[in-house]
Structure formats: structure tokens, C-alpha cells
Subunit: 302 residues, 4 copies
């Protein structure tokens, strides 16, 4: 089912990381720039993430003895220093997630680069080092994102959905490790509803909403890929839902045959086994398209 | 999982309140001001709340021997006096829920204040006393709501989503107890569909739609917070659904280890243990933001 | 749970009717008046109703020995005479469902009356008698619908959602029996998705999608009301779904304690027990509102 | 439940085909002609289809020893030659699915014909023969599609939803075999969510999302029709979901009483038993409507 599976450390059946997109109330400021201060309930719903869920999540991981990855918009890094400190004290990785959850592929390249750099500076000051990995807000990587990331020394990206295991993104100036996920491992379709955020859908029970994650984990473990869960502290970090996740994690860790690790360690492992010749990853040239395939000048597809 | 849990009366494992937002047909008048009289079926669907569901719900609570809280727009208080009388005879609390379900954060502050005052007057006449608590229609608290509530002597708010247990909202002029809930405990994502109300989504079976409430209750009871279910009589009060809820309530009450109480009693308890020094609640300054963080004059985030 | 329950014939625990809104492709013509002929797949999906599902449904009822009610837009009565004949041969009731699924509450009263009359004429020619009952397309009864129905001698309406059992709609000129249902007993939220019809949502499995109907039936039977399922032949009449329904019907009929009957017989029963004084139904004056409660001239609610 | 069932080869209880609409990133180019190159994540999500899912799917079928049908837009045939070659080496049928997933019923007839012909040429070059079957992108068959298909020698269409088994589409110039499916057998309502593709909804777990397919299969097998699953490699071909499908297929094949075959073989069988007089299929004249039934010149329905 998986061709050319990555050899994981110590013979682990698969690699796994729960990644936390701690967007907090950046979402309401970016979508309502003139009225965000009037959205008190949505703000409180989102602030539950850094204020209530983050300490809970980090404590669970302390108990379980594993470290994971948190993607945090730089504006949130500055706005919620306690949450950042809690995460860092827990030994977790913090990755780049934009400045204020702006969508890179809706910005001109120079603006995308600007916010990327602003974010790097803020993260350096807050964490003591430059971020190694990036996840585009709402996965919205642009056609120039990989170039920008490579130029700035990023090691990996976590925005794409092109495989069940790591692969390489090649640009003219260098490569990134891609650590992919997909919408079936995101918690918005399970747990979020918000008129202010323009998002509707049913809300699943905690157990039913986490069931897709479990089935995906079981398949990845069966066949040997990478399980990257994308959860939002304000949503999956709520009490009843996190209780389900914590119970799952205990059970998933018990056999000791899955490698739970921060994304940067997974990326480093892929680089290592590639460099040693032990493994030859799938390689994809980026961007997939440098221009629209529809040539509007002549009204034809290229 | 919950830091600094509130000490509940008599060693109860948690506090719980099913809150009923009895909006009735205010929803169709506010969303279709010129054509609401033409929406006969939607009106009948919504009038099921005060006319059929309210007597049923109050009777269930009479049998179970507990009292809860009903949030009712003032226009509905005047329009449905029988429902109000039934609720009052049952000994339940009636809280403020706007005049006609207008959204506070879409109004200028003086209009918000106006409708708040109109509602207080109507509620005083109908219930004999000023309301102690408020839930913003659709949770849409504004940046000035807390100030307005404090100035008018409200004790608590029930519009926010920032914690799993009560916390304090501090303003320059005084504080409110916040009794939070969240969208995972609201019945619209489970049971409502209405083109007239601009709301779509699947409709869950009665048992499946109430399952999130049960799982949330079990988690709250396990860890010691506050379970605030938000249900609408026109939706969850329908026969098959209420039958599920009534059965759940019987089972939840049986062990005698959960404190079901009206919201005002829960707020009063929090005030009492805080005043006595037995408990030190989490405090949040309100509003979170007094202006947009995006400064459109200079095109920058503050 | 149900106050003042209707006494059903022969001590039946409740009354029940599966009503079929056989809209066929009227839906695509009314929503795409200029391009409906170009929607071949949606048309085929909808024509499955009269061409495939109707014979199947009628055959099931022949085997089970019960009769139910079909609401059919008059345009469909003329367009699909074989389906109409099959239904009539099965002894079922055909009720009025508009001319071509136009929404009454979006029409001026004289247009609503016009199409109502056109429909009555077509139904008289096709069925040999005037329709006794009406369901507004998409339940969209207007403020004048009850007056128009009473003037034309209709016995009952099946468009409203105001109770769990029959009640009376009183107008200045006379009364109608209301046989109510609600969105939780409609199959669109379970089984329909169509871009051409502007309707999205998940599609449930046949068993899961019919589960709400079963739970509602069990509650109605437990407490003694009226179960009015609203299903569309093109949706619930599909093979796997109808197989679930047919199995349910067999089981529901087995104990012999539920009165499955056409809507007109249920309405006649309510009239009979009311006339005899055996029963005093709830009465609602219609319309609920003769004008908007918001007076836009003065910007105030009445 | 099924009138006049098709006699299947070797006494099979029913016929079955999983059809794969391999749209790949055609969807993003057609819906965002000026910005498709900027949608890197959605592109990667869609490219998962040809690059990861197709080899997996073909390998599963090799193991199971059956052949099925893939509908591929011609642009994708040219863009993903490896996927096409993998499919052809597996012995599967490739059907016509438009040029770049344009909707036929939104195009003037001459444009529809143009892209149909462009697609035939590309498919001839890539597969060595003209396509025998067609599925309209998004099922959007127009009023002229059948005429165009008949003129070009197509044997069957797979875009309609008018029955549970094959039927004939008759035009003035000849006939097509229709091999119908319906939205309850499509995987978008179960597994897809994409802002870039304008599609929302909850995402079901792999097992729950495939459950409708299984229930439909069981009903078709019980009553003897044709089960046409419509799945998209980028969605159902993902690891955990395909694992569910592969397990189902093993179990469905085990008794040996279902005829799994490519669509062209099913169409050929229907032609054969019809020609021999063994079977008389249902016949439908196409198009159902040659013009809108609403005559806007006089404002009346015809």
C-alpha cells in the first residue's frame, strides 16, 4: 500500500506527530480587521487555546514523556508569551505559521517574504533559534513559498498533502523535506462551527470526531508511513475532546512500536537516511506550476 | 485536566445547568423584518418552543425536582406570557437574552444599551425582579457589553467560551462571573435546518445529536468543571429529542454527585467562595480589545 | 410528554403516515427556468421518483396492505400520468402540492390563489375529485394560505411544524385540521446533495439516514401523537434506502397497535372526535401575523 | 424491488464496478484559471490521485484479479502519462471525462463538441483506441450530449441517475447504454472538504464514509441491479480509506456471485442480451427536454 517506505528509527512501524496549530484569535483579527474587537465570544472561544488548552496539552505530554510540534503565528507568539513558555519548557518544537495567519498564496511574493521574515525574527527572539519548519496558514502555500523557505534555511514544510510519508520538495536553490498531512486529519471538519469565521458544518461528538484520526493512525501503522494529526488547541484541546485524545495517545504509545517525535526530528531523520544512502525519497519539483496553465491572452490551456 | 477547580457545594463532582434559549419566532422577525409574517411554517416551527416544548420541559423538571435557567428575549417575554408563567411557576430562573434577539456586537453602544434597558424593564414587570444574568443572542457579546452589564448590576454573563468552569470578567467598574459554554454544547449544529434562518447542515437522530452533550458531561464530571448545555426548546424540546434528554437527566441525577442548579445560584456560589477566600478564580480583563488590532490608518497591526 | 392526546381509532397507540412529496423534476424547472433543459443528470435523478421509485413504493404498500398519501405538484400530475395512475390504483391519497413547486409565500396573494386553482382543476381531472389536503412546497405556507384553503373547501393542511399531533387552524371563514411534521422527519438533510438544487450536506448511509425517523416513531408511539414522515421518492425511494424503510414498516405494522392511514383519514378522524365532543383539539388562529411586527415606517417593533 | 432485472452473466446476482474519476488537479485549473498555480496545497492534495493512489489501486486490483474503469479528463491523460500507463498495464478501461473537467451543460453545443473531440484524439493517442464510454464531469450532461456521443460511436454513458440498473438512451441517430449511479455512491459527500474547490461538509471516518457504498452494494446484490461506485483517487484512494475499500472488495468477491467488470463490458453485455432478444431494456428518449418548459416570452409554463 505504501511504496518505498521510509525506514524509521529502531524499527518503528511508523512515525507520528500530533501538530498543534495554535492560531488563537489571529483568525478573527485577520478575517474582521475593522471589527475584530467586537467579537468577544469568538475571541474567548479562540483564546481558550493558549490559555486553557495549551497548559493541559503540555501537561499530558509531560506525563506521557513525548514531545511534539506547535505551529504558532508570530503575532500569537508575542501576544501569548505564557503559552509559548509553557510549550518551550515542555521541550516541544515551535514552527513558523505566518505572522497573523495571513494566506501566503493571496499575497504578492514580496509581502509573503516580508511576513515570513517578520515571523522568523519574532520566533528567534521568543525561542532562541530560527524555526526549522513551516506550515502555511490554512495550508495555503504559494508558488514561491518553497523558494523563500529554502533561501531562509528552513529544513522542512508541513503544508502539503501529496503522500502518506515524507518526500522531498526540490527547488533551484535547494530542497525541503515535506511532512504531509491531509484534510481527513484536520479537526475543523469535526469540531468547528463559527459564523464569525465563516465556517459551518455539524459538530461531531468527541469520540466520533476523533475516530477518523484513529482509523488513519491504524492504517499508517499497518503500512508504515507518517501520521501527522493537525489539531487546534481551541477545538480539540477542549476538555472532553482532549480526554479522548489523551486516552488514545496512552494506548498508541503502550506497545512502543511507533515513533512519536517532533516534526523537526522526523525531517532530520529523513535527511539522515537520505544522506547515508540508506533511503531514496520521492522527489517533487516545486512549484508544480510557475504560471496558470490557462493562457488567458489566447484563451487556451497550455 | 482542569487547573484550580472550583470547590462545588457538598462535594459535588461538578456543576451542571441545562440552559434554554427560548428565542421562539423572534429569529424570523429579526432576520426578515419586512416579510416575517409570510413565514408561516418557520413561525410554527419556532412557536413549538413556547407552546409545546416549554410545558413539557417544565413538567420534566418538576418530576425530577430540579430548577434550571431560561434565557428569553424580552419581546418573547411579552409575546408568550403563558410560557413565562409556566417557567416561573416551576421555580426556574429567567435570564436576559436581548430584546428581539438583536446581535449586540452589530449595534452602536447606545443602541445596545437601549435594548438592554428595554429588556430589563420588561423582565422586571414580568418576573418581579431584575435579571441577574445575561446571554448575548447568538453569543454575540460586544466590546462594551461587560461595562453595560456591570453598570446595571448584573451578576453573571453566560455568553463566552473561554474555560471549562466559571471565571471572572473584570471591568473598570466591577466584575461579572462568567459561566461559559461552547459550540459543542449547542443544539443548532445537531438538530436545526432552516432556509428561512439561513442555516443548513445535517440533522442528527435524537440519540446521536445528544451524544456530544453526554460525552461532555462525563468529562466535566470526571474532572470537575461546569457543564452548561445550550438548548433551544423549538429544537431539543421536540418529543423524541426531549425524551432522550429526560432519560439522560434521570441517569445523571441518580448518583446524587452532580450539582444541577440555575445559573444564578452557580454564579452566587462562585462569588461566595471567592469572597470567603476559599477560592481564587481566574480573572480576565474585559474587553479583550478596545479597538481593532489592525490600524487601517497606517495599514499595520498594532 | 403530550398534553391532551388525540384518541386514536381502536385504541391505537399513535397515528402514522409516510407522506411522499413527489416533486420530480419540477424542482429543476422552477429553480432554473431558462436552463432546466440542460440539466440532464439532475433531471434523471429527479425522474427516478415517478419512474422507478413510485412503482416500487406502491408495490410495497400493496404487500403490506396499507394506504398513504402522496403530495404532487399539478405540473407533475400532468407530466407523469403513469405514476399518478399507479398511486391511484394502489388506493392512496393524492394531495395538492402547488403547480410546479412554486413557494406560496414568495408570491402575491392573487398569484398564490391562481396556482392553487390551476392545481385543483388539474387534480380533479386526474383523480376524479378535488384534493382534501395541501402541503405547501418546501412547507412555505404564506399568511393568506389558510384563508385560500378554507375558501376552497380543503379539510386539512400538512405544512406546519407546531405540534406532535393534529391541531386546528382557525380562520375567519372556517377551520382546517393541521397534520404537522418537522425537519427532523424530512429526508433532504439525510440523503440529498445537488449543486443544481443549491443544496449541500453530507449524505448518510441508508440505515443511518433513516434512524431519525425510527427514533421519532418510537417516541410518538410511546407518548401517543402523530408521526408524519416526509420523504421524496427520488431520494428515499432509491433501492437501498427503500429497503430499509420497507423493513421498518413491516416491523412497525407487526404489533398492530399503530394506525397507519392516509392523511385525509387522519384529518377526518380528528374532525369526527371533535364534532362528537369526545375530543377538544388545540386551536391556533391563522395567520399568526397579518403584517410584519417591525414597523419600518417608524423603525419600531409593534 | 427492481422490475425487469437484467440477466447477468453466469447467473451473477448483480453487476458491479468501482469507477474512478481521476480528475487530479484539473479541478483547480478549471475553477481558478488565473491563480491555479498559486494553490500549491490543493494541487498536492489532488496530485495524490495520479501519483500515489493510482499505483495503489491498480496493485490492489492486480492482486484481486479484476478490472474496472477509470474516467480521466484528457488534459490529465497528457499530464500524468505514468498513471495512464499503470492503469493500462493493469488491463483497465479508461473512459472519456472531458478535456479539463469543463461542465458540458455550461458550454454552447459547438464548444462541448470541440472538447469532446479533442479528448477523443488525446485518448486515442494515449490508449490506442477510441473511448467506448463517457462520464460528464460532475455528471453535467447537457441536452445535446447524447446526440454528440452517438455521432461519435460511443457505446455507453455513465452520467445519469435514473435507475438501479442499465437502461437505454434513445436519440434520433441511435442509442447509448446508460450505466447509472447516484450521489449516494459518490465519495465527495463523505471525504472531501476544500475551500479552493468551494466544497464544505464534514469528513467522515474511512469506515463510516464507505458504509453507504456497502449498504447500497448489499441492496443491489439482494435485488439484482448494477452497483456503480464513483470514487476519486485523491479522496477514496488515500491510505486508510483504500484499506477499507480493499477489505470490502475481498469480501465482496469471495462468494463469487457478483460480476465485477469494466463498464464497457457491462454495456456490451446489455447490448448482447438486448440484441439476442433475451432482454428488453427500459428505453428513455433523450434529451428529456429540448427547451426550457418555462416560456419566458409569454411568462408561462408549456
Amino acid at each position: 500500500m505504501i511504496n518505498n517506505p521510509v525506514p524509521w528509527p529502531n524499527g518503528a512501524k511508523c512515525a507520528a506527530c500530533v501538530t498543534f496549530d495554535m492560531d488563537a484569535d489571529s483568525l478573527v483579527h485577520i478575517s474582521h480587521p475593522k471589527e475584530s474587537h467586537r467579537k468577544a465570544a469568538t475571541t474567548s472561544m479562540l483564546q481558550y487555546g493558549p490559555e486553557i488548552a495549551i497548559p493541559r496539552i503540555v501537561e499530558t505530554y509531560r506525563r506521557l514523556g513525548i514531545k511534539q510540534t506547535f505551529y504558532i503565528p508570530a503575532w500569537c507568539v508575542e501576544r501569548y508569551p505564557d503559552a509559548v513558555e509553557t510549550i518551550l519548557k515542555g521541550g516541544h518544537e515551535i514552527g513558523h505559521h505566518g505572522y497573523i495567519h495571513e494566506h501566503p498564496n493571496e499575497l504578492p511574493p514580496e509581502e509573503e517574504a516580508h511576513w515570513l521574515d517578520v515571523g522568523i525574527d519574532i520566533m528567534k527572539r521568543a525561542t532562541g533559534k530560527a524555526p526549522r519548519g513551516w506550515r502555511a496558514p490554512l495550508y495555503n502555500m504559494s508558488d514561491v513559498s518553497c523558494d523563500l523557505l529554502v533561501e531562509r534555511g528552513f529544513v522542512y514544510d508541513a503544508s502539503l498533502m501529496g503522500d502518506d510519508q515524507p518526500y522531498m520538495l526540490d527547488t533551484a536553490k535547494g530542497s525541503l523535506v515535506e511532512l504531509p498531512t491531509h484534510w481527513g486529519l484536520d479537526d475543523w471538519p469535526q469540531f468547528v462551527q463559527s459564523e464569525d469565521l465563516g465556517y459551518f458544518g455539524n459538530i461531531m461528538s468527541p469520540a466520533m470526531g476523533f475516530e477518523p484520526y484513529i482509523q488513519e493512525f491504524n492504517a499508517i501503522k499497518k503500512y508504515g508511513g507518517l501520521w501527522v494529526a493537525v489539531v487546534h488547541p481551541f477545538a480539540t484541546g477542549r476538555l472532553a475532546r482532549w480526554d479522548v485524545v489523551a486516552t488514545f495517545l496512552e494506548q498508541a504509545l503502550a506497545p512502543g512500536d511507533v515513533w512519536f517525535a517532533p516534526m523537526e526530528e522526523i525531517a532530520a531523520h529523513v535527511q539522515k537516511v537520505t544522506a547515508s544512502g540508506e533511503y531514496s525519497p520521492r522527489r517533487v519539483a516545486m512549484p508544480a506550476y510557475k504560471a496558470p496553465i490557462f493562457d488567458s491572452a489566447v484563451g487556451k490551456y497550455r
